[in-house]
């Protein structure tokens, strides 16, 4: 074998690992868990796993778009919690109140994030940090410092969105799957998707090519806000009330699963399926830790953090070996 074919082989493996590494690990972890813990493979556990994953997946979907443009959205955890409270609050005006109120408010927060990032050139990190504080403050103001809990009436149609099942699987799972499918098509098959990649890959070239960079950025932050708010509404429908204390640190979970899924934080590259796998991996590991039982549940974040680091280091190492 000549040196060039060795190099070519290595590159192929490197790129395969980079793209499919998380998927391989996910399969291995599931296989091991299935054999080692009889309860893991039970239908009930898998159903719960899918349902729990769907809420985070909806948030991470928006985050994937933002990160591909080279940005970051730290506000999603607060916006998620705010969306839940607004959905419960809006339930007094029926189904559409529950749905439209959170979408409108969270969409506007996302829109403002986008405008500030795209039009003033402020760092996404700081802009969305400010809206993290703002959304949490708004949430506290609505619930009079978190002391008021809004309940969704037990007969509300809206509840079915979170609690309904089809073929034994919860509606949120189908909704998350549909949104991911739509997101994947949007990213891969449309002009908008192309400008998302171009914006993150090389912003100045994208500008020179006449792509609507600013509009693309505004759109992805708006999407991220909408999706985080919608995930909050779904969670509220599932829990039958708006819970004020959720979502703290969720932005970091979302970023972590997106990165684990192979989307580069530097922008320009990423996939929706990777994010799906990232969410799956996070929650499967969590489930495994719960099954072990004797293991401290706090161990879960240690594993997540360690895993994130390993993935990032491997990504970096592969990128270097491909350039070499």
């Amino acid at each position: 074998m000549t040196a060039t074919t060795v190099q070519a082989n290595r590159e192929r493996w490197a790129s395969l690992l980079q793209r499919q590494g998380a998927a391989v690990v996910l399969v291995v972890v599931i296989a091991v868990a299935w054999i080692a813990f009889p309860r893991f493979g039970s239908l009930g556990n898998l159903r719960d796993l899918a349902l729990q994953s769907s809420f985070l997946l909806v948030i991470a979907l928006g985050m994937t778009f933002v990160i591909i443009t080279g940005g970051i959205d730290l506000s999603v955890g607060s916006v998620y919690a705010l969306g839940g409270v607004l959905a419960a609050y809006g339930s007094q005006w029926g189904f559409f109140g529950s749905l439209l109120l959170p979408l409108a408010v969270c969409g506007i927060i996302g829109l403002i994030n986008g405008i500030l990032v795209a039009r003033t050139g402020m760092a996404p990190f700081i802009v969305t940090l400010a809206s993290l504080l703002f959304a949490r403050g708004l949430l506290l103001a609505i619930t009079s410092e978190g002391s008021t809990t809004f309940k969704i009436p037990g007969d509300a149609v809206f509840l079915r969105l979170g609690q309904g099942t089809f073929l034994g699987i919860g509606y949120p799972v189908y909704i998350a799957a549909a949104l991911c499918l739509a997101g994947g098509v949007l990213l891969r098959r449309t002009r908008f998707g192309q400008s998302v990649f171009a914006t993150g890959g090389a912003e100045s070239s994208a500008l020179l090519m006449g792509l609507p960079v600013a509009r693309t950025k505004i759109a992805v932050y708006t999407m991220s806000g909408l999706l985080a708010g919608f995930a909050g509404a779904l969670t509220a429908a599932y829990l039958q009330s708006g819970v004020t204390v959720i979502g703290v640190g969720t932005e970091l979970d979302a970023i972590a699963v997106v990165v684990i899924g192979g989307t580069l934080l530097t922008g320009g590259a990423g996939t929706i399926i990777g994010t799906v796998i990232g969410v799956g991996l996070r929650n499967v590991i969590q489930s495994v830790i719960n099954q072990i039982g004797t293991l401290d549940s706090n161990f879960q974040s240690v594993v997540s953090g360690g895993f994130l680091l390993v993935v990032v280091v491997v990504q970096r190492w592969l990128a270097k070996s491909r350039n070499a």
């Binding site: 940090l129 410092e145 706090n298 594993v303 997540s304 994130l308 680091l309 280091v313 970096r316």
Partner: protein
């Protein structure tokens, strides 16, 4: 000097002075030794962490792990307090140093983006702290150790004194040492600094190490003040407060400039905002929204400067 430039340079002092004047006029019982003491005590940990963060941001980086590192150092204190407070404090600082070196290694040697490199420790570090403490709040009883939290030296609280000494130290480091000049140069233009033969990797590792140690110091002081090691709560969202103090204090996120006194003032300003709103019976929600507005305003002004 243009007006925006001036605002960026001195805006934080102006804001502190303005808020101070407002409180003098409109807040009851504002002027009292006890109140000043409380305000400074509250601002001290944020200030200490923000000093390290300012150095990191000066190199165009960011350290998201500071809150988790505080929790980690706090979790270890009860384990070693039996061997004397000095050893416990030392262990806490060494853990901070180790965390900082780890972050620095990822950023400098492996070339990983600071946000991601330190995100790993943010996610994992607090979990590790909780595992070490078995998820529990542990009371701390050693009087010598507790005196770090509520003791005085010449009438000044120990933690305020520590913060002041560290601020002077960091100020001298930036202004008067080769390391400080190299740090600022690297933040301004990393590749040019590398070409000019500056020890880029060593400086970066050093900066994250300092940031980690300072987070460890803050963890020690927070534990002493609380009288307990609470890994679930100590340092929570500290990374955001520290970044805010740094940015409000005039250090741009794009690096190449470190404002030490501005950072201290940034920490004081955020504390003063909180205190003012609380004293006027405005709730937490208002505080958070006002903080958000201040951050946006500060960064907007900073942006004007950098595009010029």
């Amino acid at each position: 000097m243009t007006r925006t430039r001036w605002l960026q340079e001195y805006g934080v002092y102006l804001a502190v002075a303005g808020l101070f004047a407002f409180n003098l006029l409109f807040t009851e019982n504002f002027v009292s030794a006890a109140n000043f003491r409380t305000q400074l005590l509250q601002a001290a940990p944020v200030c200490i962490v923000a000093l390290g963060m300012a150095l990191v941001i000066g190199t165009e980086g960011v350290d998201l792990s500071v809150g988790a590192v505080m929790a980690l150092s706090a979790a270890l204190i009860p384990l070693y307090l039996g061997y004397g407070p000095l050893l416990a404090v030392l262990v806490a600082l060494v853990v901070g140093l180790a965390a900082g070196l780890f972050n620095g290694f990822l950023v400098a040697q492996l070339g990983i983006q600071p946000i991601v490199a330190t995100l790993g420790l943010l996610v994992g570090g607090r979990g590790l702290a909780l595992v070490i403490a078995e998820g529990k709040l542990v009371e701390v009883r050693s009087p010598e150790f507790l005196s770090l939290g509520n003791g005085d030296v010449f009438g000044i609280p120990v933690s305020v004194l520590v913060a002041a000494v560290l601020a002077v130290g960091v100020g001298l480091l930036v202004q008067r040492t080769t390391f400080g000049r190299q740090l600022v140069a690297i933040g301004g233009n990393r590749s040019a600094s590398a070409l000019a033969g500056l020890p880029v990797k060593r400086v970066l590792i050093g900066v994250y190490a300092i940031c980690g140690v300072l987070a460890g110091v803050a963890g020690v002081l927070a534990t002493a003040r609380l009288g307990a090691s609470d890994p679930a709560d100590i340092g929570l969202l500290m990374e955001l407060s520290a970044i805010t103090a740094v940015v409000v204090g005039g250090t741009p996120l794009t690096g190449g400039r470190v404002r030490v006194l501005g950072t201290v003032m940034g920490a004081v300003l955020m504390q003063l905002v909180r205190a003012t709103l609380i004293k006027h019976d405005l709730p937490d929600s208002a505080t958070q929204m006002v903080q958000a507005a201040i951050i946006i305003a500060a960064v907007y002004v900073a942006r004007e400067r950098s595009t010029r």
